[in-house]
């Protein structure tokens, strides 16, 4: 692929802290290589801001290899930018051309308060996991691997659901800020396996109750989450969560 350099205009959300109102700031990114990742472009811009004695743009990042789910950027109206199945660190500047104006916003959801600039607090997801996203394991000697038979197809589906990195793009992309794709992936990866059966019913009920409590919206099946998910988690997981929740709600005695 041909390498080129470009000059860009960035409209970036700046917000000092949780209580600040926040505003867009227009910045120039000069001489950006098409080989850079979107985050590296921000590194260059920040370097310059620091040299000018200004406050750099705060953004979350950790692994920079597409698996940590920290880089919560809404780029030109798209969660993690215009490419499908990628996080922001895997979005390369060749997705843009010289002279482009790029608007970068943090995830917008009441349940994900902005901490600073493009950094949001996603601990609501942690509390949903705590509510039921686990399995009970006996203490004592570890069991031999593979001593519980699992149907291959189900193992594959569970694995695909377990690919969820909890980045929150589903919430950011949903017009209702619904966390259903995230919760459905976390419920599915366990509900599909024999190890997940003991807590099957309480898991679905408790995780959905916590999801509602955190202030996420409800799912209207628009499919925007699936379209934006960097791990391409399927909407069939949401159907499975609905089945798990209906089954639990209709059959638990308490």
């Amino acid at each position: 692929m041909e390498h080129y350099n470009m000059n860009l205009t960035l409209k970036v959300w700046r917000q000092k802290n949780k209580n600040d109102q926040g505003r867009f700031e227009t910045l120039q990114a000069k001489n950006i290589s098409s080989e850079m990742s979107f985050l590296e472009m921000f590194d260059v811009v920040n370097e310059e801001l620091i040299n000018e004695g200004k406050e750099p743009i705060a953004f979350d990042h950790d692994c920079r290899e597409g698996i940590c789910g920290m880089c919560s950027m809404h780029i030109n109206g798209r969660a993690h930018g215009p490419w499908d199945g990628t996080t922001t660190c895997q979005l390369h500047m060749r997705a843009f051309k010289d002279g482009d104006t790029i608007t970068v916003e943090p995830w917008r959801a009441g349940a994900f308060p902005v901490l600073k600039d493009l950094t949001v607090d996603r601990s609501a997801f942690d509390r949903i996991i705590e509510a039921g996203g686990y399995v009970s394991v006996n203490t004592g000697n570890a069991q031999d691997a593979n001593n519980i038979p699992v149907e291959k197809h189900k193992a594959d589906l569970a694995f695909a659901a377990a690919a969820c990195i909890g980045c929150g793009a589903c919430v950011a992309a949903c017009k209702n800020s619904s966390a259903m794709l995230f919760v459905s992936a976390k419920v599915s990866q366990l509900a599909l396996l024999p190890q997940g059966q003991p807590e099957k019913r309480t898991r679905a009920l408790n995780m959905v109750a916590q999801m509602d409590k955190e202030g996420f919206g409800s799912c209207t099946n628009t499919g925007a989450c699936e379209a934006e998910c960097p791990k391409e988690i399927s909407l069939t997981n949401i159907a499975r969560l609905n089945r798990e929740f209906i089954n639990a709600g209709f059959t638990t005695e308490k």
Partner: protein, 228 residues
């Protein structure tokens, strides 16, 4: 989880909207079958005897009141969900993805539902209320023991006014857009998503409920108006 808690969760409320939605889908099918008799050129005999039967059969009348409760429940719970969904994003995005990540129909459910609700109120006020609660000209038919209310002629008179024809066509466009997403969406809410049946569900949702039924409904006032 108690029933009261269950139906207060986001999924529980969606189940109520989905279940009432399915009932309303079955209603539009029956309603269309009856209404198409308006297009028979028999002086209204078929339609008026049908209307007489529907208006006086106690089982039908029971269902008709149930239907009104279902419409109110559907609209009320959907409104509750819409309000909490809007509140879930207090600060909006400056740039939105539009149709890149979701279909236009799927994002307009509340708007189309609201248009439909207004349409239903007007429709009931124009045709249902006068039929039940006021004196309407009657008509005698051969083989029918006594004169029956002539809803057929009242309907024909109504659709001589192009304003009402347009209103009914707009109402049915809203029905179409609402059901293109609503029918298949309700299946997903009930967890009915299966690669062997999705094709059939999507086909029925789009072609039967999304297109054929609304178009056939809308054709009634248009045909009546054009044949005057």
């Amino acid at each position: 989880m108690k029933w009261s808690q269950f139906f207060n969760t986001s999924i529980g409320k969606k189940l109520l909207v989905g279940a009432t939605g399915f009932f309303l889908c079955s209603f539009v099918l029956v309603h269309l079958a009856g209404n198409l008799q308006l297009l028979y050129k028999d002086g209204g005999k078929a339609f008026n005897t049908y209307a007489q039967f529907m208006g006086h059969n106690s089982l039908i009348q029971f269902l008709a009141w149930g239907l009104k409760i279902v419409i109110v429940l559907h609209a009320f719970v959907a409104l509750q969900l819409t309000i909490s969904n809007r509140a879930a994003r207090p600060v909006k995005y400056q740039v939105n993805p539009g149709n890149q990540t979701s279909s236009w129909f799927s994002r307009q459910m509340a708007i189309m539902g609201s248009i439909l609700l207004i349409f239903i109120v007007v429709h009931l006020a124009q045709l249902w209320a006068p039929f039940h609660y006021s004196d309407m000209p009657t008509q005698s038919y051969e083989g029918v023991s006594e004169p029956i209310k002539d809803l057929y002629s009242v309907t024909y008179a109504l659709f001589q006014n192009p304003l009402w024809v347009v209103l009914y066509v707009v109402g049915m466009a809203a029905l179409s857009f609402h059901l293109i997403h609503g029918f298949k969406s309700a299946f997903q809410t009930f967890g009915l998503n299966h690669s062997k049946y999705n094709g059939l569900i999507n086909f029925i949702g789009l072609w039967l409920f999304g297109i054929a039924i609304p178009v056939a409904f809308a054709a009634i006032p248009v045909v009546i108006y054009l044949n005057k």
